[in-house]
């Protein structure tokens, strides 16, 4: 495989990871809560796609809005269970509650779908396309398209609509958002909803090529966490770029060494970044001396 081919593959994977990271960073921004069940919610989206695909054998592209809607509701449910009751406690408590939600989800998948990996129907159809010496699967192209469209949609909603402005205002200063009349609890619930919907869509996109299985979410949560840290805590663009960097790194490096070693190198690189730049690649250094 040429280097370019590898990069293209990495970008295709990265598109899905970017959606995962995007949903994750939304929630981090609005609530300072690290939702460690996020990867499991991605799997949930994949499973919903699997289930819907069994019910109605349509290409996933058509079913995506349904997946998104269902996952939006799931996101609000997670907020009601794992976030709002614990909003006044130290942030580590929310971290733990999301971990526990993750465990419940993983075992729910196990019970409902069994331990074997499942595949969702393809986005449009299976097959490979050749573009000037580069091979790319239709699934990957479709994933890129959907991800690009969603990222663009997110950008438009966030930057050009009142809802988006209110979401950002709530994330930046919750009290002042209240003081200008914004219903911040509803906004936060909606943020969880949107973040989870994105996770769900990512899951539906990934489920065809990469399969879903009950414990598949853990590594995705970790990747989202890493992407947000690399990109600078809270930066949306940073999260997307971070996700792309992770996926390209993984794909390219694992062509030369085993997948496991590539993953290991990824974590080691992360640790090295921490030690030399504790604020992430794009973040700002906090002036603490204690």
């Amino acid at each position: 495989m040429t280097f370019l081919q590898l990069v293209i593959n990495g970008v295709a994977l990265g598109a899905a990871y970017a959606l995962v990271a995007l949903g994750f960073v939304f929630i981090v921004n609005a609530t300072s809560a690290v939702n460690f069940a996020h990867g499991d919610l991605v799997m949930a989206g994949g499973y919903v796609a699997v289930g819907l695909g069994a019910l109605a054998p349509l290409p996933i592209l058509v079913l995506l809005p349904v997946v998104a809607a269902i996952m939006f509701a799931v996101g609000i449910a997670v907020a009601l269970v794992a976030y709002f009751p614990l909003a006044n406690r130290p942030p580590s408590t929310v971290f733990i509650s999301t971990l526990l939600c993750g465990i419940v989800l993983q075992n729910l998948f196990l019970v409902l779908f069994g331990p074997q990996a499942r595949a969702a129907p393809p986005l449009i159809k299976s097959g490979i396309v050749h573009l000037g010496g580069i091979e790319i699967s239709i699934q990957a192209l479709g994933t890129l398209g959907v991800a690009a469209a969603l990222i663009a949609l997110q950008y438009v909603v966030f930057m050009r609509t009142q809802i988006g402005r209110r979401l950002r205002a709530t994330a930046q200063d919750r009290q002042m958002a209240q003081a200008v009349g914004i219903r911040t609890s509803a906004v936060i619930a909606a943020t969880f909803g949107f973040g989870t919907a994105l996770a769900g869509v990512a899951g539906a996109l990934l489920a065809n090529q990469f399969f879903v299985y009950p414990t598949g979410g853990i590594s995705l949560s970790v990747y989202a966490y890493i992407a947000v840290v690399i990109g600078g805590w809270g930066s949306i663009a940073g999260a997307v770029i971070g996700a792309l960097m992770i996926s390209i790194f993984q794909v390219v490096v694992s062509a030369y060494v085993s997948y496991a070693v590539a993953t290991g190198l990824l974590y080691v690189s992360l640790l090295l970044i921490f030690f030399f730049r504790p604020q992430g690649i794009f973040g700002e250094l906090v002036q603490r001396r204690v």
Binding site: Q162, Q172, M176, I182
Partner: protein, 235 residues
């Protein structure tokens, strides 16, 4: 005289500390009222209680004739209460324009109309529409905070220490807007450490001292009195 804001015997505590001890004050339509006092006197605490961030231990707080006990800050804001807090607190990652737009709950046309009004009051903001909140200077942020608070077309504006951290000249510019705001139909309750400037732009004043109203009356009567000096420099 229709009272917009009526506070009776308000007591507010932070844990064990009594920050406000039986404060009574009113603000009527068309008035500019000053709340002066040294730091720690309780001005910001009073404002936070009016806005709804703090729950009073006892006493009554009514706005537009309605008792505000248990009413969330969002609802108070939407019913006509504007708040420009101490330290400005503009949304740092939103542009000047977005800071103003986010505070409007109405149609796009309504939004555009109110934006024009805000820019008419503070032309400096119009010049900097696309700048992000954190990029503005202290004085510009103060104008933005006030403009944002006015976007909801409130009946009453709470202005908390606008001159803080500003040079005297800039403070004067900002406070000159108070008169214009009142003329446009929004009453103002202004909290200030700087007594002279506060008395210069307001008709009435309350002097707050360690959580109690020590003195109140028309600005002209209070200006230069012994009591005012004592309240500040302990002479």
């Amino acid at each position: 005289m229709n009272e917009l804001l009526q506070i009776e015997n308000l007591t507010v505590a932070y844990g064990q500390v009594l920050a406000l001890k039986g404060v009574t004050l009113t603000v009527g339509a068309g008035e500019a009222v000053a709340l002066v006092g040294a730091n720690g006197a309780g001005k910001s605490t009073l404002f936070k209680s009016i806005v709804g961030f703090l729950r009073p231990r006892s006493g009554r707080l009514s706005f537009l004739g309605r008792d505000m006990t248990g009413v969330s800050p969002e609802r108070r804001a939407r019913s006509g209460l504007g708040y420009a807090p101490e330290g400005r607190r503009v949304f740092p990652g939103l542009t000047v324009r977005e800071n103003l737009e986010v505070a409007v709950f109405g149609s796009k046309a309504e939004r555009a109309h109110r934006l024009d009004q805000a820019f008419a009051l503070f032309p400096q903001l119009a010049e900097r529409q696309a700048q992000l909140g954190w990029q503005l200077s202290g004085g510009q942020q103060q104008m933005l905070a006030i403009g944002r608070a006015l976007m909801g077309q409130p009946q009453l504006l709470l202005l908390d220490e606008p001159s803080l951290g500003l040079s005297p000249k800039l403070a004067d510019e900002v406070l000159a807007a108070v008169r214009a705001i009142v003329r446009r139909g929004t009453a103002v309750l202004l909290a200030e450490q700087n007594v002279r400037k506060a008395l210069a732009c307001c008709d009435r004043a309350y002097v707050l001292e360690t959580g109690k109203v020590a003195l109140s009356g028309a600005s002209a009567a209070l200006r230069g009195t012994e009591e005012i000096r004592k309240a500040f420099l302990g002479a």
